[in-house]
Amino acid sequence: MSKGSDTRRHRRDFIKTGAALTATAVAGFPFVSRAQNKPIKIGMPTIQSGRAAMVGSSSRNGCMMEIEKFNAAGGLNGRMIELIARDTKGKPEEAARLSRELVNSDGCEILFDSESSAGAFAIHEVAKDLGVVVMHMNTETSSLTADPKLRVPTAFRASRQGIHDSIAAGSYAAKIAKDKGLKKWISCSPDYAYGRDSTALFLEYLKHFYPEVEVVGEVWPKLYQPDYTDALTKILQIKPQAMYSCLWGGDLTAFVDQSTIYNLFTQMESFTINVADYTILTAIKNLPKGLHSSNRYLSTFPKSEANAKWAADYRAKFNEYPITWSWENATGTKFILEGIKKAGTTEAKKLADAIRGMKIESPFGVDGTVTMREEDQTLVNYAIGWGQTIPKDPFMPDVTAVDWKVIYELETAWKKKNNYT
């Protein structure tokens, strides 16, 4: 008896799948199960191995902060969120493959892209192909959302963006430079897209605010280069008054360690944009005093109870400091979850419509909120500030917030210049 019904159901499923496949073949849409009590599966291609394995753990932790709250509150009419994270090993082709598999085989309805920027572009293409909602969580490459040619209606970004950071950095650095008369600048950034774009834009805005600046040299160490001696000696040769660097992660700690023994930081003002993140701040044993940095993530900025509490909860839950990928992924997740609640469904188009232009409460926002800007589906109004380091917790006691009005204004000009409008 039960056997018979099983077979029947099986046959029905089979026919349904067959029909769906035909539909897929014709319309290019994936077959997605919509049973009411099934969990809502979210696929997360991310890096869990190799040198950037931290990306995966902190990203997933960030997401889980929000997902657990959502599930504890009963989910979407009883449907719980299930996050499926897979290791791309940092390879774009694996990111593409896994994204397709997560949607096509594992039945994920939404993608969280917690990859590097090369992987992000690959996942972006998949989202376009399959028509699913993707939230880019980590990539800061501006063109992904700014370039209309690349735009995908169901793709969003919930991370910092290079152009925002560069404008903020330029305006802050220009102020210091004017005060101290720092005219001879040098850059030392990793030799790949993020490093090059970020540095070029920073210098552009630095000169915009303080035209007397002269760039006297550039050094481009390779990504994951273990040794910076060649770069350091070149910098010392040139004897600039100030240095900009957007090195990050383990590269940055090695760079700081090696610079320290050359006494580099006592010889020039250093603007190392990525220092103020807890992995870096806690990894460097002798953190130099007075490095200028932007906030990657700080529990003390924005100085709000919500932010401090979030950081404390995170530390209690995962026994580690939250970092920039943690807050970005938490924010992206929150947008998706709020979107699901608002749309009442996970259907891609409706969900995307709900998220587009949405404003949510957030400990990481300037005024307690962040917005998913409608025109280019990217995050704005998150906290950006600059300050100077001290060797001990809280590491960067005074953070100066950068005004978003300045950012918006220059961003619009930048878009126009690049024919992005």
């Binding site: 040198r51 273990p226 050359y262 992995t279």
Partner: protein
């Protein structure tokens, strides 16, 4: 390309001094790893792709021992001995089983070991990068000479590795054991027929190679970030050095390492985007002109 900058540099004494010392620093640490790779290849004809992982283990061992004891000296010694023993085990248990197989099969085995070690390191020490911090002894202002700057630690590093290079060179050319090792590289069967246990020689070479790599990892620990997978770029550069210098030659490894160091330090000025390409170009040129390397034996 920035040839004018390179031109300016090579006509300025202080730039030459600074960039040369910088090349020396990069080269000497590389030498410790490359010497092992080169010896192992020369004597055993094994492409030990896992040698970078030995280096990584050295750094992590240093991190732990330094953390527990607070003594950098002890940490360095422990790393050298620990990784040396690991190299011995690796040879006896794993790589000795594929002697005589195709090079590609040996490569596969090494790759398997790399994958396992990278993951084990992550399980034991965590996925995040770690930093040892400079031991207090070396926290002194850098030396100045000829307009160039050399930090104390790097001076220590250069002197120590130079001493090791000289000792290693003497050991391999002057001692009976060294002579046996070189003889095994040429004709292991004959050496065996003379009553010498070549298996022990193989194991010994791995022990030595492991110790050198462990030492390199230990010496790198205060200045480089310690992270799973850190051995990869080092082992790739070591193979470039081995090819350039000649497989099995300690002098070749030294010259090759210094050459790569100089390419890196002057390449940064002249060809900022293409220094890696430059290294491979150098390797290609050497292979085309003299396949056995600068100090290699024609076979």
């Amino acid at each position: 390309m920035d040839l004018p900058a390179l031109g300016n540099c090579v006509t300025s004494l202080s730039c030459i001094i600074t960039q040369s010392t910088s090349g020396l620093i990069i080269g000497m640490l590389l030498f410790l790893v490359a010497a092992g790779v080169s010896l192992i290849f020369g004597v055993l004809k094994v492409v030990n792709f896992a040698h970078g992982s030995f280096y990584m283990l050295g750094a992590y061992l240093t991190l732990t021992v330094y953390g527990v004891t607070g003594s950098f000296l002890l940490a360095v010694v422990a790393a050298a001995i620990g990784v040396g023993l690991f190299g011995l085990l690796f040879e006896r248990l794993i790589i000795s089983r594929v002697y005589g197989s195709q090079v590609l099969m040996q490569l596969l085995v090494c790759y398997g070991v790399i994958l396992i070690l990278d993951d084990l390191v992550k399980i034991i020490w965590g996925a995040e990068f770690r930093s040892l911090g400079m031991p207090d002894v070396f926290l002194k202002p850098p030396f100045l000479f000829g307009g160039g700057v050399v930090p104390v630690y790097y001076l220590f590093l250069i002197v120590l590795t130079l001493i090791i290079a000289v000792l290693l060179g003497l050991a391999i050319t002057k001692t009976r054991l060294g002579k046996i090792v070189r003889a095994v590289a040429v004709n292991p069967g004959m050496v065996s027929a003379l009553g010498i246990n070549t298996g022990l020689v193989y194991a010994g070479v791995f022990l030595l190679g492991g110790m050198l790599a462990g030492l390199a990892g230990a010496l790198a620990a205060p200045v480089r970030s310690i992270v799973s997978g850190m051995g990869l770029s080092v082992v790739v550069e070591s193979f470039i050095v081995t090819v350039i210098g000649g497989m099995g030659s300690v002098a070749g490894a030294l010259v090759g390492s210094l050459l790569i160091g100089l390419v890196r330090s002057f390449g940064t000025i002249g060809f900022p985007l293409f220094t890696e390409g430059l290294m491979f170009l150098l390797m290609a040129v050497v292979l085309v002109l003299k396949p056995s390397g600068l100090f290699g034996r024609e076979t």
